[in-house]
Assembly symmetry: C2
Homo-oligomer: 341 residues x 2
DNA sequence: ACAGCTTGTGCAAACGTTTTTACAAAGGTG
DNA sequence: CACCTTTGTAAAAACGTTTGCACAAGCTGT
């Protein structure tokens, strides 16, 4: 391995001079700089990042922490889009990304602790909308730069990027109401996630605002998986009184819903209308194309990275809870007027 | 920051003893070990990874390098699944993953050079099927542990994980032939990728074997994007003589094909049958579900990580070119017997 | 011509580990 | 009980950087 000392020796200067050439120190003469740079090129020198990090106490690396079992996450296009946003901004700012997943409760803290206390990374992007997330608690108490993508009930004040999920669900529901629906159900995600609860709440508020019935048997809780949506249909559609429209927590779940409905012989949107969330690229390719709330996934990631880097550089961040705007993409799954009865 | 010296001082031992406690050195007395560990717990000590890496010359980090513009890749579910496989195995073996993308030609080499020569990572997983990839050339010449997911024409001997794409395409085509098709087209990817060429070749060999016509206007080159498949349809379906079946390079492209065909008023599989590749989770949710070659994406990633770690540990690897088996998943898009004419 | 500034470079300490060498104490052997 | 082996610990060098301090040489202005 070629080190700064090798370069120094060959160039006839001291290691410190070489170091200063590398970091463009202003007080290096053009002559020396040229000479040293030429030798660096010849030997193919690259600074040892570990040594650099050790003394500078900075790694130019961000961790992205995915607390849920990876299995579940990666099936969702949402995740790729988020990652793309994060990577784009991180790379632009000269940061590398460490991708980490952790499963068990204890494991989680251990992993993040290792990265944070071990000075492996300069900051953490945490993807979590758990009502009460121990990792958030840990990070908040350790005053290490981090940003939360999502919302934590127990720690509402941490730096975070999120959507106005309540409003988004309100909008989605209102849209269905505007199409003439009066019997609207909700296919939700896990109850310990703020994203589920916020959306559920928005849905309920819309129903209330329009004086429509809120029936608890029309709300089904599940996971962010196709299978969940599929199973929800056998539940809901076996009820004596069925909804004519559904708000679905996530596109992938909506695919399952669609499959379930199709198998049960229902047509979308003729028998049942559908609106879901996240607007992944395939939602417009479904048959029929699915109406979905675009939550600005790319921007969510992009902004998270950007904000984190600001925090690392100790810039003052005026708005600690950043909301990315959403937008309802109306497609065929919610367009045909309903048949009553 | 709490260091090994702080622990040493409090425990009344030397720093080296603390280090040995951390690394479970056999010659440490149970007494000392317990005492030191207790103090470590109290102070919340975690070893500084940078310092550790500097002396051990090892980072316990793998880089995954995605040379293509991230945009294109992340839209494809294939990528998430691959990542999942890599992460699972890497984490299991105690490695962190650095996720890197690079776009420009020069940029690419610079990025990988920085990581490799800067001793930032212990090994590289490169996702590339470019016929002639400068990064492969660089890595091969620098004798740094790396594994290629894909195949390089110019460097066939490097450690690599791949599918038998030729055979897979042969199988796909043969399946269509078995369904009675005699006029079969091919929607391909970029011509500078071995994956495109291999599949194209397998497709052609199958046609030859069954003495069916190979018509060059039934082969359309494109990208790994929906849009590509969509555009290919306006080309192919405007020909005076049209195929009755298509082999499509990738599921996402197949979604575009499906959309194109639907818009042009063709029914799948009644008018046109479809078989594609990669078997992403949504291919069975399309309408109709798309027949696809499962290439064992998860296993591709898992094996890549596993093999790379072996290479890092300097185990001898007997099989340098590893082939992950594929399997045709027959679904509705290729099942109905054709209408001739 | 001399004090004072500017410019360019070197020395050496520091970052937090690991690991080699050394050595004292304890245990085993004849 | 003298010797050898084993066990447990400490001291110090090394890993490859950065950076504060020092200082020589070249300028500037009076």
């Amino acid at each position: 391995m070629v080190t700064i000392k090798d370069i120094a020796k060959l160039a006839g200067v001291s290691p410190s001079t070489v170091s200063r050439v590398v970091s463009n120190h202003p007080r290096i003469s053009l002559d020396t700089s040229r000479k040293v740079k030429q030798i660096m090129d010849e030997l193919g020198y690259h600074p040892n990042m570990m040594a650099k990090s050790l003394v500078s106490k900075t790694t130019n690396t961000l961790a992205i922490l995915l607390p849920r079992p990876a299995e579940e996450l990666f099936q969702n296009d949402f995740f790729g889009e988020l990652l793309r946003g994060i990577l784009t901004q991180a790379n632009r700012a000269g940061y590398d990304m460490l991708l980490t997943t952790a499963t068990g409760e204890h494991d989680e803290i251990e992993t993040v602790s290792r990265l944070v206390r071990g000075r492996r990374v300069d900051g953490v992007i945490l993807l979590s909308s758990r009502v009460n997330d121990p990792i958030v608690a840990f990070l908040a108490s350790s005053d290490f730069p981090f940003v939360l993508i999502g919302r934590s009930e127990s720690h509402p004040d941490v730096l975070s990027i999120n959507n106005d999920n309540k409003q988004a669900a309100y909008d989605a529901t209102q849209h269905l109401i505007a199409q003439g629906h009066e019997r609207i159900g909700f296919v939700s995600g896990p109850a310990n996630l703020t994203v589920s609860n916020d959306r559920l709440q928005g849905y309920r508020q819309a129903l209330e605002a329009y004086k429509l019935p809120i029936r608890s048997d029309w709300t089904v809780e599940g996971e962010f998986l196709q299978e969940s949506g599929y199973r929800a249909m056998s539940l809901i559609m076996s009820l004596p009184e069925r909804p004519t429209a559904l708000v679905v927590i996530d596109d992938v779940v909506a695919f399952g819903v669609l499959r379930g409905l199709t198998e049960l012989g229902y047509k979308v949107p003729d028998d049942i209308s559908l609106v879901s969330f996240n607007n992944i690229s395939l939602s417009e390719l479904a048959t029929p194309p699915i109406s979905s709330i675009d939550i600005g996934t790319y921007q969510l990631g992009y902004t998270a990275a950007q904000t984190l880097i600001r925090a690392i550089n100790e810039e003052t961040i005026h708005q600690k809870q950043i909301i990315i705007p959403h937008r309802l993409m109306v497609r065929e799954s919610s367009l045909t007027p309903i048949k009553r009865g």
